[in-house]
Amino acid sequence: MMDRGALIGGVIFALLLAMPVLLPIVGAEYLTGLLIKAMLLAIAAISLDLIIGHGGMVSLGHAAFIGVGAYATAIGLESGIEEILVLLAITLAVTGGLALVTGTLALRTSGVYFLMITLAFGQMIYFTLTSLAAYGGDDGLTLWSLATFFGSDIVQEGEGLYFFVFAALFLTWLGVWRISQSRFGRVLRAARDNPQRAEVMGYPIARYQLIAYVIAACIAGVSGLLLVQYAEFVSPSIAAWQRSGDLIVAVVLGGLGSRNGAILGAFFIVIMEEFLSSIFHEWRLIYGPLLVVLVLYAKGGLNDLLHPKSREAS
């Protein structure tokens, strides 16, 4: 059965897949970099939607996991580890482990207290990164060697990197949606809807929420790894709480808990920023009111503008 969400997702991915072919024709190669940036934001936004949209846990520290993933990768590269799959394993272990510890503590709270405690953990991570003097401290670190894929430099730039990021986005999109519709995701959504009821159905809900939190952090860590590979540079600013705020905006703007919302929101943000800032120096004067209008008049987010009636099981 092909539902509308899958169809729209299919169109998005088909377009992204065709871009490296189309862009040189219209003479806009620089857009490749923009799309990679948008895809990286989309990966992190989808992972955040797992905990906000499906799990009802509003975290204001999610970007910290991007930072941790990026630094784990950068430090790995500096120590001479070049194979991207090994770096991936390190990234997953470090972000997952950190999420397990911070999540266990943060999930003792909920609502605005959860938001505050994730913000606090995020800032702790941010300041820890700024204090890594050996790896650039505040200024960040430029990387002179990048990761390889089975010894090949194919994932270092251009189309190879583009398709690598594309594959990561596709797997994230598919995986998070499947998780949300699985047995596990059903319990997660039940706990979001009514935690007391879910518990009295017989579920230890904190355990499910913690697993979702760790999964989301791991995915954010992967987007950090890819960000290093793309930017060839890492700095603590990617872990700042303002970046976490951007991710929340992407998720809410796109449509919470929807299949394609996080991607749409992330692309909207990156493209609008680029477009508005190129025509108008004080572009935030337009961007801000535009967000207000969108949130007021499209409550289900951009995702609902594309298919207003057919509400998916979210």
Binding site: R183, V187, M201
Partner: protein, 245 residues
């Protein structure tokens, strides 16, 4: 099936449960009545695990569940409904019940296969919904149901876990006369399969359903007996029923 032994609980100087003991056998309905503030809700919280007793025990089917958490008691066989309707509003009626079935059917740590496609869960949920009379509402969002239908959905959710015992917290609350009568019939029908503890203000329901009634006043059981005995008991009348009853 359910046994409560010498339950004590106080909040500071206020003693809300004083030596409460009661037991409910298979096939029985035991009602607890009492004026507001008598400690009925505190009793329910101690049975379901929301609150811990200061001393005493709660046994379910012979197993001591006194120190288990809320979800562990549900897994041990306790089903409950809430005084204030508590369902999953964004889920469909069927998925509400299927989620409860899932809790007792295999692991929920499955991350890839679509839960909504699991026939075994859906069939059991559908059968349970038919039993409570919501068989024609399965595809509706739970948020669209009427108050009376929501009360039935709550019962279906509780039944879906195949409990050994049902704890019903004012199931009649907010229902009209006809709806109440229908719910009394349903509970009468369920009683043989699911022994129940009924906390209820609706005296019609209590007198029609209960095999045994305990009267709770200021945390203490002051009278116990069959509905007709309790109706005649002067202490119970003074405390709760009023002279007109």
């Amino acid at each position: 099936m359910l046994a409560i032994e010498h339950l004590y609980k106080s909040f500071g100087a206020l003693q809300v449960s004083k030596d409460i003991s009661l037991s409910v056998a298979t096939g029985q309905c035991h009602a607890v009545i009492g004026p507001n503030g008598a400690g009925k809700t505190t009793l329910i919280h101690q049975i379901s695990g929301v609150l811990r007793q200061d001393s005493g025990r709660v046994l379910l089917g012979g197993q001591d569940v006194s120190h288990l958490s809320v979800w562990e008691r549900v897994q041990a066989g306790l089903g409950r409904t809430f005084q204030i309707t508590s369902v999953l509003p964004s889920f469909s009626v069927l998925e509400n019940v299927a989620t409860a079935v899932q809790a007792k059917t295999g692991s929920s740590l499955k991350f890839f296969a679509r839960a909504a496609d699991e026939a075994a869960l859906n069939e059991k949920a559908q059968a349970t919904l038919s039993r409570v009379g919501l068989g024609d509402r399965i595809d509706r969002p739970a948020a669209d149901l009427s108050h009376g239908e929501l009360r039935l959905l709550e019962i279906a959710i509780a039944l879906a876990g195949s409990p050994k015992f049902l704890l019903l917290d004012e199931p009649m609350a907010g229902l009209g006369k006809t709806e109440s009568a229908a719910l009394i019939d349903l509970l009468n029908d369920l009683r043989s399969d699911f022994p129940m503890l009924l906390v209820e203000h609706d005296m019609d329901a209590v007198f029609q359903l209960a095999d045994e009634v305990s009267v709770l006043v200021e945390g203490e059981i002051v009278a116990r007996g069959t509905p007709s005995e309790v109706r005649e008991n002067p202490q119970a009348r003074a405390a709760y029923l009023g002279d007109g009853a």
